[in-house]
């Protein structure tokens, strides 16, 4: 375990922005955090060391369950009820706050240590106005809290028209605006340390970039130190002076960001660097320039004879939703506007866009789950928008979906066998014996042991569940699989595994994929063709290489620039 040498690096590294003071602002020494569960105590974090100098940005990187959030929350006394610091100490500005009184912790919160939480959708109280939630923060920390002060705080965080916005409720804000409000709250009392827990992971890439840029500017101006928690190594490297990698509750490596990326020592960091999509896609690009390797090494290439015939052809597809207004009137909202593209047999076409771009509506219409307002969707030459019930049923056998949320898309009351076998039964295929054989084959194809058949979804990890979802989608031997954000909810390493699995299955079974995603880095790894959507319209399409190397529209350029880590200059051989 190389974490001791890593630690020396962390301590020895000199921070950039105005951190000449010798006293660290936050220091965790040998920290251990234990959770009391019904199965006894579980140690979530062990021997965690970290230091944050005043004004410095330090990132903790790790996958879900690595203990990165728990470590950061402990510093502000926000461990859940069954968690406690079981060893080591937390020193803030020279004061040991590990066992400080509740009163002292309340004093520190907000005014000395601020927090920007992860999910802007759930972190604002839905029943109070934004202005109220800012005002109470100011008031609790003894700052002036008039209407003007509230508006000023919100305006600082880049919220336009702050004074009238303060009178709105959270549900009237977009995700990006909510996150701005949360940043405003986190920084409103000028804390010396800001804990930012995945502050942008729930946002679109372009919004993510704006928010992070703004956060950078603000904390720099105010001289606030930032403890940034993220699962995205590219993002950490781009934003932080120092990166700390956590794995299974332990700090496995720490050091200056670039050094850690170019020369990862711990095997886990090496794996992380290799599969982080943002850096990996950058690698493909740089490798291409150097003509060393082809991108196919990451995602095995589809047979080149594929793509000769068109399996799905979407032309002039439009979807108009009627929004209910007051007094029974309705207004039209065009979610998908005159979209045309095609999917060639045996290849992957990605539809990329931010939330609200209409990409998921396109997927639903291609699946026959939503009626098109106008236009046509031809599957193997037949227009599915005109199919009757019986024909639609047969069509569904040939086109199967994989959805984003592996927790929500599997029935918790069905065991794995029943989940995968259900489509076979519904479509009346084979007898129970042949169906069981088929399920075993499918589990084998997605690299799950057949002993898993009797288990239930809650006993599986996110990656395993997504494999089950893939097995279920493949049960009917479909020709086309529609992946709606199929890997977005997964950790980077798991994401890479699933993408490889999808690529393997494609070359093995000759599948065609329609891949709906917001993540351009993923597109780079899996797609042959890309269609970029913005506000319901298709703004650009072409081969993946063309779109990435030579984007035509400003929107695509902005999307590409917003990939975290895209701006990092890495030598081709580094990764």
């Amino acid at each position: 375990m190389s974490h001791s040498t890593g630690m020396d690096d962390a301590r020895g590294s000199t921070a950039r922005a105005g951190a000449n003071e010798a006293v660290p602002l936050l220091e965790l020494r040998d920290l251990a955090i234990t959770f009391a569960t019904s199965n006894g105590d579980v140690e979530a974090v062990r021997n965690a060391h970290l230091t944050v100098m005043p004004g410095e940005t330090v990132a903790i990187v790790g996958e879900s369950g690595s203990g990165k959030s728990t470590t950061a929350l402990a510093a502000i006394g926000l461990l859940p009820g069954n968690g406690r610091v079981s060893n080591g100490s937390i020193i803030f500005d020279g004061e040991d706050i590990t066992r400080a009184s509740q009163k002292r912790i309340v004093e520190l919160r907000g005014s000395s240590i601020g927090m920007v939480p992860q999910d802007p959708m759930s972190n604002l109280n839905p029943v109070w106005k934004i202005g109220f939630q800012v005002r109470e923060t100011l008031r609790a920390n003894g700052l002036p809290s008039g209407t003007q002060d509230v508006a000023k705080v919100l305006a600082e965080a880049g919220l336009p028209d702050a004074e009238s916005r303060a009178n709105q409720y959270p549900h009237e804000f977009s995700g990006g605006m909510r996150q701005r409000a949360l940043i405003a709250i986190g920084l409103s009392c000028r804390p010396r340390l800001l804990i930012a827990d995945e502050p942008t992971s729930a946002l679109d890439v372009t919004v993510q970039r704006q928010i992070l840029d703004h956060l950078d500017t603000m904390t720099e101006q105010l001289g606030t130190a930032v403890l940034l928690i993220t699962h995205d190594l590219g993002l950490a490297a781009e934003r932080a002076h120092k990166v700390i990698v956590m794995y299974r509750g332990q700090v496995v490596e720490a050091g200056p960001a670039l050094e850690l990326l170019t020369n990862p020592r711990h095997p886990y960091t090496q794996k992380l660097v290799a599969s982080a999509p943002s850096i990996a896609s950058r690698r493909i690009a740089s490798a291409k320039k150097a003509r060393v390797v082809s991108g196919d090494e990451l995602a095995p290439a589809v047979p080149r004879d594929a793509g000769k015939d068109t399996v799905i052809e979407v032309s002039d597809l439009t979807k108009v939703f009627k929004l209910r207004g007051s007094w029974g009137r309705s207004t039209d909202f065009t979610a998908v506007d005159d979209v045309s593209f095609s999917v060639q047999r045996g290849t992957t076409t990605a539809v990329v866009g931010e939330s609200g771009s209409g990409k998921s509506t396109v997927a639903k219409m291609v699946l026959g789950l939503e009626d098109a307002t106008s236009g046509s969707i031809r599957f193997d030459g037949v227009d599915i928008t005109t199919l009757g019930r019986k024909d639609l049923f047969d069509f569904r056998r040939r086109v199967q979906p994989i959805f984003q949320d592996p927790y929500g898309s599997l029935d918790p009351m069905y065991n794995i066998y029943r989940t995968i076998e259900e489509p076979l039964r519904v479509h009346g295929i084979g007898d129970s014996k042949s169906r069981e054989k088929k399920v075993r084959e499918l589990l084998d194809q997605v690299a799950l042991p057949s002993s898993m058949m009797q288990r239930f979804p809650n006993e599986l990890s996110g990656g395993q569940r997504q494999r089950v979802a893939i097995a279920r989608a493949l049960a009917l031997d479909p020709e086309v699989v529609i992946c709606d954000e199929a890997v977005s909810a997964l950790d980077v390493l798991v994401q890479a595994q699933i993408l490889n699995l999808l690529a393997d299955l494609q070359s093995e079974l000759g599948l065609s994929y329609l891949f709906i995603t917001h993540d351009l880095a993923v597109v780079r790894q899996i797609a042959d063709h890309v269609a970029v959507m913005e506000k319901g319209r298709l703004v650009e399409q072409g081969t993946t290489d063309d779109v990435f190397d030579n984007p035509q529209t400003a929107y695509t350029k902005a999307l590409l620039a917003a990939i975290p880590g895209a701006g990092l200059e890495l030598p081709p051989e580094a990764a």
Partner: protein
């Protein structure tokens, strides 16, 4: 919002028609002659019977009877009961007592239910929580007439803290004990509902964020946990108001309260059809209005809900 309220009032029309038709049908299609109930064992002369049949439209076909009754309701003429007293006067006489009793019960169950539920929810799994849970289960499980008679006997007869029964004036102090009994079961439900809701909300992300802002524990609980937790509780309380206004038959019977429930009970026993139909119609109206009130309150508590 205006459109929503207008629509809700329009929706009340079919509910009202359907419910009255059903009640009317049930009461007047009972076997036996309705006049027999008035005349008692000794019977009336054929002339009197004919007069009664004329007065209550008993010779008309059922549907005409119903329409004539509706006409009366719409012109605010509920007619007279079988003893010849105007039904509207009787309702006006007994309703204030029932309303007073119902409101007292509602306040008691809301205040105690929410406070106990809040404390239990915050101390989940501790002694207070467990004991309150067991007690509330007992209250829900034991029939209300058992609890009613028990409390009447202990507090009214043995300890003599209050009158065991309520006089005609139905003063505030006299009504406390019946109100406690009336609200007891709902109190247990409110408590459990609040507790569950608090437990759900206390771990919400926005509560953690509120704590991270530097707010005191008290403020976090009152401002961020309690208000959000009250949304389902208010729904229950509103629906319960409608039930309490009309459904106090058992409690009013035990404590001899001269209210709507008792009057309805006597009317049923006497076979006083017009009276039964009128009171039930009145209760239906109250129930529907209470539900409308709940829905409006809901929108006020939760700004995400917009009626259109």
């Amino acid at each position: 919002m205006t459109w929503y309220i207008v629509r809700r009032f329009l929706q009340m029309i079919p509910v009202f028609l359907g419910a009255t038709l059903l009640v009317y049908f049930l009461v007047f299609s009972l076997p036996g002659d309705a006049t027999a109930a008035i005349c008692g064992d000794r019977g009336c002369t054929p002339a009197v019977v004919a007069g009664l049949r004329e007065q209550y439209n008993l010779d008309e076909p059922f549907f005409i009877q119903y329409l004539l009754y509706l006409k009366g309701v719409l012109t605010f003429d509920l007619g007279t009961n079988f003893s010849g007293r105007p039904i509207a006067t009787i309702i006006a006489e007994v309703f204030p007592t029932t309303a007073k009793l119902a409101l007292m019960a509602l306040v008691l169950e809301a205040v105690f239910g929410i406070v106990f539920g809040l404390v239990a929810g915050l101390r989940k799994g501790k002694l207070f929580d467990s004991s309150v849970l067991v007690l509330s289960l007992v209250v829900i499980a034991v029939p209300i007439f058992v609890l009613g008679f028990l409390m009447q006997f202990l507090i009214g007869v043995k300890l003599q803290w209050t009158n065991p029964t309520v006089s005609g004036d139905a003063t505030f102090t006299e009504l406390i004990l019946p109100a406690v009994v009336l609200g007891l079961v709902s109190f247990a439900y409110v408590l459990r509902l609040t507790r569950t809701s608090i437990i759900e909300n206390v771990n919400a992300d926005y509560v953690r964020t509120a704590t991270a802002k530097g707010l005191s524990r008290k403020r976090v609980v009152v401002v961020h946990v309690l208000r959000n937790s009250l949304i389902p509780v208010v729904t229950f309380l509103g629906a319960d108001l409608g039930a309490l206004m009309g459904g106090a038959i058992v409690t009013e019977g035990i404590f001899n309260v001269n209210g709507v429930g008792n009057t309805l009970y006597r009317a049923v026993l006497n076979g006083d059809g017009p009276m039964v139909v009128s009171i039930v119609t009145f209760l239906i109206l109250i129930f529907v209005l209470a539900n409308l009130l709940v829905d409006l309150l809901y929108a006020w508590l939760d700004p995400r809900i917009r009626y259109a």
